[in-house]
Point group: C2
Chain length 338, copies 2
């Protein structure tokens, strides 16, 4: 049977500090980590001129993933990706993370190695250095991530800054993760090869870190959130925090493309785009006066204007003919069954 020490040593070897691999080469990370794994706590140097941005996120077996059908390296990648997406939504650059894991005895071998491998891949990609964590034995797999980033002082983009007249924008395409989840559920988690492309966003989401920090640095975004719960729910979060409303143009939405073979399934692209969660795109608002300087894409990811912030606090969706109806918050709420 594996001991806690052996387990910690295996984790430590998987996350050597600290190179970040990017498309333009690699750079050193973790320079501010004074004490990492292996003491009672981690010690981090402060960075003058920056604020810390910190988020925590649980990734739970049978809630967020299943052992069956979900390769452990995808589980590891996604657990870290979805937590890191919250940093993108603040415009922060990722620095450190902490991994708290509870595992059944039967998963501490190859399954854990797969998880750590996928998580290490995500860490290198996002520029994150593992600084600590905690391990326990448990009947189900529980992962809890704490991710720490940095942003120039006072530059974090909050949910609360949207103003009437601001344009509502979104990165990428909406509903793709929900389509992938439905394909998985329909195929009873056997992951049909021919649909692999459509599963990618569900299994391997890509936090929009470069776009988030670019928007924060430029001061373009007046408010921002990541679409983890689904557009309708995440937009409500922005509107409530900002004390405003919004109108979404349905025809402008960059909705998921459902392959013809799946059409008879009666899945509706607009519904998936409005209410499907886990796309981890950025939903943000831009004051009209700077909107003209907003690029059409950033690093190959399209930016789409999908509506406008309104003074009236209702949240509406408009069809092509200009008819509006209330947009109910139909996204993910962990305390409501779907």
């Amino acid at each position: 049977m594996v001991s806690e020490e052996q387990l910690i040593e295996r984790v430590r070897r998987r996350f050597p500090p600290g190179l970040r691999e990017t498309s333009s080469g690699s750079r050193r990370t973790g320079a501010g980590l004074r004490v990492g794994i292996g003491d009672d706590a981690a010690v981090l140097a402060q960075t003058p001129g920056s604020d810390w941005v910190i988020t925590t996120d649980a990734f739970l077996e049978n809630v967020h993933f299943l052992q069956k059908g979900y390769p452990p390296n995808d589980v590891g990648y996604k657990a870290l990706a979805r937590a890191t997406s919250d940093l993108a939504a603040m415009g922060a650059r990722p620095r450190y993370f902490f991994l708290t894991m509870a595992l059944p005895e039967g998963t501490t071998g190859a399954w854990l190695d797969g998880l750590l491998s996928g998580m290490a891949q995500a860490a290198r990609r996002f520029g994150l250095v593992l600084a600590g964590g905690d391990t326990s034995r448990y009947p189900t797999i529980v992962a809890s991530l704490t991710v720490i980033g940095e942003v120039a002082r006072g530059r974090a983009v909050l949910r609360s800054g949207a103003k009437p007249g601001d344009l509502l924008c979104v990165t990428g395409r909406l509903g793709e993760a929900a389509l992938g989840l439905r394909i998985m559920q329909q195929r009873k988690h056997r992951r049909p090869l021919q649909w692999r492309h459509h599963l990618k966003k569900h299994l391997h989401p890509e936090p929009r870190l470069a776009i988030g920090s670019w928007l924060a640095e430029q001061g373009f975004a007046s408010s921002m959130i990541d679409t983890s719960d689904g557009l309708s729910t995440d937009l409500r979060h922005i509107c409530q925090a900002s004390g405003v409303g919004a109108i979404v143009q349905a025809a402008s939405l960059p909705v998921v493309r459902i392959p013809a073979e799946l059409r008879p399934q009666d899945w509706n692209a607009l519904n998936l785009a409005l209410h499907g969660g886990e796309d981890y795109e950025l939903l943000f608002t831009v004051p009209k006066k700077v909107a003209g300087r907003l690029p059409r894409d950033i690093g190959g990811v399209p930016i789409t204007v999908i509506g406008e912030i309104t003074k009236a606090k209702s949240i509406l969706v408009a069809d092509k003919g200009g008819r509006t109806k209330p947009l109910r918050a139909g996204g993910w709420d962990p305390f409501h069954q779907r």
Copy 2:
């Protein structure tokens, strides 16, 4: 059924920022918290001249506590206390914490209120401000805490600084939490009133924050750890990190006092003191040249010299007659069954 938003609102109301209650009055906390609960992530201002000290800790139903016999406010208090004890072990002052919780539907009412109440009591006592977290629904209760503290730059006390000749010291009394746990187990978690005093350390441990930060500020301690796993295991952590050994004088140990009524139980005070976990006392080493200036107690908590660090890497326990034998690491390892 409760929604995530309602739940977050209830949590938020339980942890108003930020007053710390101490024996000498109250002081404001959380001044550096730029953005707290309710956004994608928390934003914390940096403090010049300090290092951050960060730890994460899981508190799991059926591993660390049971619903039966464990009042929810004790669960809440202890979950935060044990995580915060890691800060004491580094000599850091607590500042912020994050609470990630997964809960069964049936516990989101009175049970959760009890837990939050106990946790809020601990937070006020330790000077911690809740800065964020995450909630999910789950079949069992899972709490994961991230606690952040500060220490003057370069002053954190590590496990790795013990030198041959240093005196080995411990705060308080050892084995009390293990005695409490055994009473609970023996009485099938009915918490007999007459043993209440002996359950206190098991249910309501007290992290030695003032002593830890005093030792760090004075530069007295060359290494430090909290006795969460048990003296024998925690001493091994210090010796391995420092590349040294140690000899413990059994007769010097401040062992738990087992009441006469429980003596026939065949519980051995020395064994409880050597291997019983969860006392959350501080085990630390002091260079001989400053040992004379070490007080006998700090804030009413006794400091006891229990042995010495040795160059030879073995860890020994000596009896009154000077006979030594190896001290096996018999404390808590979450991946070994007891």
